[in-house]
């Protein structure tokens, strides 16, 4: 049974049109991460939550925002998607910070 679930699996959005990606987990983990992975590149951390504490990476564009309304859910909002934001977006969870993380299947975002 999937423990980290991302929806949708595939998302097509128009240039500049806000889009929200969602992630839910049944593991009751404290930490949730959002990564961006472009073709043939390593996953790049955008931000992470430890409980309700939000930690933004210094080089994450302001165009990317996140919400975590409760332990189980986390959202990635892209306010004005550009062509360069087309990528796989991966959500991951871990019980505490700095230990092994478990990934959802990802959402592949296409910007047209």
């Amino acid at each position: 049974d999937a423990m980290v679930i991302q929806n949708p699996r595939y998302q097509v959005t128009q240039f500049g049109k806000p889009v929200t990606l969602s992630c839910s987990q049944t593991l009751n983990h404290n930490v949730m991460y959002w990564y961006q992975q472009k073709s043939s590149q390593a996953p790049k951390l955008l931000f992470h939550y430890y409980d309700k504490d939000f930690n933004n990476e210094a080089d994450t564009p302001d165009n990317f925002q996140s919400r975590r309304p409760n332990t189980s859910f986390c959202f990635l909002d892209i306010r004005s998607p550009g062509l360069g934001d087309a990528a796989m977006y991966l959500c991951a969870t871990s019980r505490i910070q700095g230990i092994e993380a478990f990934f959802g299947q990802g959402t592949r975002l296409t910007v047209v």
Binding site: V31, Y33, Y35, Q41, A42, P43, K44, L45, H48, Y50, N55, M88, L90, A92, S94, Q97, G98, I99, E100, A101, F102, F103, G104, Q105, G106, R108
Partner: protein, 109 residues
């Protein structure tokens, strides 16, 4: 210097070969180390955690040398099903998990 550097590969080996992936890191605050496997267009999946000087799981051995800031993953008797991208990942106590570039392995029958 990148926080995590891996052999660029790709590695193309025959079935049964031994292959080893290497990873060096620059952040001495790194406290935990992992190897993930990622198949094409899929999510990364945890292969092994490395918490001490090293550990073994079947054909896979994870080795850690903190003094040299070096992590490696030898794979014995490689199988076609081992073909994937292998990602070295570092964790810190303040929450960051940093991925290496990944090394592509192809095992030919």
């Amino acid at each position: 210097r990148k926080e995590v550097e891996q052999d660029p590969g790709p590695f193309n080996v025959p079935e049964g070969a031994t292959v080893a992936f290497n990873c060096t890191y620059s952040n001495s605050a790194s406290q935990s180390f992992f190897w993930y496997r990622q198949d094409c267009r899929k999510e990364p999946k945890l292969l092994m955690s490395v918490y001490s000087s090293g550990n073994e799981d079947g054909r896979f051995t994870a080795q850690l040398n903190k003094a040299s800031q070096y992590v490696s993953l030898p794979i014995r008797d490689s199988q076609p099903s081992d073909s994937a991208t292998y990602l070295c990942v570092l964790g810190t106590s303040y929450g960051k998990l940093t991925f290496g570039q990944g090394t592509i392995l192809t095992v030919h029958p």
